[in-house]
């Protein structure tokens, strides 16, 4: 049996028989359970995952546990004089140090496992809903993260114990090195340095555990932990060896020993620097929601150019901060890996970064938002209470950072349509300016001329035609929609109708599945007698899904139904008719997607969106109403022009809902944080007592 194993067994066995261990275990369980209970309450209803939350609850208590478990392993040997017996044995110092370290680490791991099992048991007892979608495997990355961090803490505790003859001094030093100094430095940095806040928004030690527990492993952090642990153990063995260097004769040996320690420290710094320089982010397949991005997200990141700065505008104490920080860091790393757009991440705490927070306030940014800046100006904001996951973030990034593609919106003219360059109350200049900001050109098209519709046409808009389209014009529109004339894809048409027979387009629309109807709206809720307030948005379509909970205002709108055209379509054709918005079951806007066969439908479909009103995006209503009219129109244009990234959902976290009321929360905290640790302490104490009595 090797000396490492012998020393490990001795250290492990000794720790089992100490009241100190029982006390440390109880303290650790109590602290971590109360932190977990508090974290659950804070994260209630937010997008926070259970496993990382649990792991982060344990992380701050771990240095204290390691300090108490490790404080005696060497200092007690020195105090009692047993060190001479050990050192006169034919064993290397490093073997003794490593064996003792393994003993302390094993007890620490045991504590982590007990904490996990007890936490899961109490969660199952008080909030079983939390464990419905979360398996035991989800917690393994968190356990691994704590084990890796615990390894480093235990190594440092053993090193401190080798240095001090006094156990209390060893424990105090360990706690200072592992908890007080790093956390104090981070707090000071965050409190008083804006640059520090940007660079270290999250406590690095906790963030490391959180990231690992979420399934996102930083190899740099992992390797650094190993390197630092080895360095701490090397230091410990040298400190033990230095005990032989008493007197003048030991000076030379002492000098070489400390020179070796110095070289070790330099090598450690270089190795840690190199590890972080060559850092690779790994996704663990164990976690339910490891930070893996969708194929669409990766495509956008690869194809986009420039720099987008994402600012998290919320307080650091917010439970959403760490998951958000984790997500942004992962997104930024993914962008770097894809060599496309560069995503810079900043944090602005409204309570601390007063200057920057004031600027964002003046820009009209709400707190608890993600702010996207490109080219020195704010190009998008997402509020955390709304959808601000991968899908929404990529939608913003895609909009601002994809390389410029010349695509134009062609507006028909000559039939009494509203004009995009009309700055009057009934013009569409406001909405066309928004289109220009999104990268679209605005052009008019005269269907009476014989020219083919240009290749740069993203979509054709018919904005409230009052006069009939001629047969030739209709044919040109049909050819365009069917992808004839050398076009490689089906056409895209946005029709705004002021009446069911507007411009004679009802026939064309009916051919593609949308049937305008003249029926008036029953029970319409109005603002001014004729306006209709629309609150029903279809959640299963990309155009309307983001508007749930908002409202649009239409002026005496036309309604739509599904035409019989689909029934006469050939079997190979695929068609999807989607009501988008409505009132009391009446559809006021509809979309249709139609193509030949599944592949054509998926890649090059014909798309038409019809809205039963032209006035809803005219200049006057847009100035008057604070509603979703503008966004709905822009979303429809985006859908028609093919920039429909929102249809590609990424990995979105669920909400954490424990279902516990106040009393249950209190009971949960008391049972897991007070009663169970106390029972553990009593049990371990009885075991220690019985062992001693038996002896």
């Amino acid at each position: 049996m090797g000396p490492v194993r012998v020393t490990f067994r001795r250290t492990f066995g000794l720790a089992r028989g100490l009241y100190t261990t029982a006390l440390a275990t109880a303290g650790f369980l109590s602290w971590s359970a109360l932190a977990f209970a508090f974290g659950l309450e804070e994260a209630e209803g937010l997008r926070v995952e259970l496993a990382p939350l649990w792991a982060v609850s344990l992380a701050p208590a771990l240095p204290f546990l390691a300090a108490i478990l490790g404080m005696d392993v060497w200092s007690d040997e020195r105090r009692s004089g047993r060190i001479d017996v050990l050192l006169s044995s034919p064993v290397r110092e490093r073997d003794l140090v490593f064996g003792k370290f393994l003993g302390v680490w094993a007890i620490t791991l045991l504590n982590i496992v007990i904490a996990l099992v007890s936490s899961l048991a109490f969660v199952r007892m008080f909030a079983p809903a939390l464990l419905e979608d979360v398996g035991f495997v989800s917690f393994l990355p968190g356990v691994c993260a704590l084990a890796v961090q615990g390894m480093l803490w235990c190594a440092v505790a053993v090193a401190a114990s080798a240095w001090f003859m006094n156990s209390a001094a060893a424990a105090t030093t360990t706690i200072a090195l592992l908890s007080v100094i790093p956390r104090g430095a981070w707090y000071a940095l965050v409190k008083w340095s804006g640059a520090g806040r940007s660079a270290f928004g999250d406590m690095p030690l906790d963030a490391q555990v959180f990231d690992f527990a979420s399934g996102f492993v930083s190899t740099g952090a992992l390797v650094s932990c190993f390197i630092l642990a080895v360095a701490a153990l090397l230091f410990a063995s040298k400190a033990v060896a230095a005990l032989r260097c008493v007197g003048r004769g030991g000076r030379g040996f002492l000098a070489t020993t400390w020179f070796a320690v110095f070289l070790g420290a330099v090598a450690t710094v270089l190795a840690v620097g190199l590890a972080y320089r060559l850092d690779i982010g790994l996704d663990l397949p164990l976690g339910k929601r490891a930070m893996r991005f969708s194929a669409r997200t990766r495509d956008i990141l690869a194809e986009s150019r420039g720099t987008v700065t994402v600012t998290a505008f919320l307080e650091r104490g917010d439970p959403r901060f760490r998951p958000l920080s984790h997500f942004l860091k992962a997104l930024s790393a993914e962008a770097d890996a894809m060599c496309g757009v560069r995503i810079g991440v900043r944090y602005v705490d409204p309570a601390l970064d007063l200057g920057e927070a004031g600027r964002l306030d003046r820009e009209g940014v709400r707190r608890d938002s993600l702010v996207f800046e490109h080219g020195g100006r704010i190009v998008g904001t997402l509020h955390l209470e709304d959808d601000c996951g991968e899908r929404a973030c990529m939608s913003v990034i895609e909009r601002v950072s994809l390389p410029f593609r010349r695509s134009c919106v062609y507006w028909t003219k000559g039939h009494g349509e509203a004009s995009f360059d009309d700055y009057g109350p009934f013009g569409l200049s406001n909405i066309s300016r928004d289109l220009a900001l999104d990268g679209y050109g605005n052009k008019t098209i005269d269907l009476t001329s014989g020219d083919a519709i240009a290749d740069d046409c993203a979509l054709v808009v018919v904005a409230g035609a009052k006069n009939e389209f001629s047969a030739a014009e209709m044919n040109r529109l049909r050819n365009y929609l069917e992808g004839r004339g050398g076009r490689s894809e089906g056409g895209r048409l946005l029709v705004l109708l002021d009446s069911a027979e507007s411009g004679g387009l009802s026939t064309l629309l009916s051919e593609w599945g949308i049937r305008p109807m003249a029926a008036s709206l029953p029970n319409a809720r109005t603002l001014s007698g004729t306006d209709v307030v629309v609150r029903d948005f279809a959640t299963n379509h990309v155009v309307s899904a983001p508007f749930v909970g908002q409202q649009m205002v239409l002026d005496d709108p036309v309604s739509f139904g599904e035409s019989a055209a689909a029934e006469s379509a050939s079997a190979a054709d695929r068609r999807q008719y989607s009501p988008l918005v409505g009132v009391d079951g009446t559809c006021l806007a509809a979309a249709v997607e139609w193509g030949e066969g599944g592949s054509k439908l998926a890649l090059r479909p014909t798309r038409i969106v019809a809205v039963g009103d032209t006035g809803f995006v005219q200049n006057a209503p847009l100035r008057k109403y604070a509603n979703a009219n503008r966004d709905f129109f822009l979303n429809a244009v985006k859908y028609l022009s093919g920039r429909d990234v929102m249809t590609q959902s990424g990995v979105e976290p669920d909400l954490l809902v424990s279902g516990m009321d106040r009393d249950e929360r209190t009971r949960f905290a008391i049972c897991s944080g007070v009663a169970f640790p106390s029972a553990m302490f009593l049990l371990l104490s009885v075991l220690v007592m019985s062992r001693r009595r038996k002896a």
């Binding site: 012998v6 020393t7 001479d84 006169s88 034919p90 064993v91 008493v246 004769g249």
Partner: protein, 235 residues
Amino acid sequence: MLEVRNIAFSYDRRKVLRDVSFSVSPGEAVAIAGDNGAGKTTLLKILATLMAPESGAILSDGQDALSHPLRYRSQLGYMQESPALYEDMTVKSYLKYRARLKGEPDKRIRRRVGEATEICRLADVFDTMIHNLSFGQKKCVALADAMLLRPRVMLLDDVLAGLDVPMRESVGKIVSTVATFSSVIVTGHEIPDIVKWASRVLVLRNGSISSSVPAAGIARTEFAARVDKALKGGG
């Protein structure tokens, strides 16, 4: 055979040992006597490689102990003045633990422990917790630990200190037994007891060996008288 050549040692400015040289053959039990602070314990710690000498060499069977400390320690048994043992263990488990730590193969541990227990007469307290033992018994356990693997060199610091007369005689017999297979070096002040079994007494004065009194060829009383005289500075 253990050879000590020109060992010197000083704590910063205070010279403790200067030019200490002697040798101990296998089967010999050499006692180092001297006043308090003469450097007996320091010398033994140096021989146990717990301290580094300022100069000099320690040769065990011709090999430099300071250059190959691990090999040397595998042939070494060391007992310090005050026995420092793991109080939470029984005698049996402690000796087994020590044997394992010293690298003894599992299959031989039982025999080694049994042998040491028999020589040190610990059979009665074999399963007793160490914290329940008397000081003398603890010293015997420490002695058993030192002789566990039949080392070639045994260093026993103040081996008789704190023991009553029967216990001193008992320990003396143990040392005599151990000396049949080891080069034994002991330190102590209990000269009347030591001369009963020591084969030679070295007197350490002013940091060096001032005299060496062999027991061979003379009666024990005469040997004691010569040692006493040497200690009083009579040469």
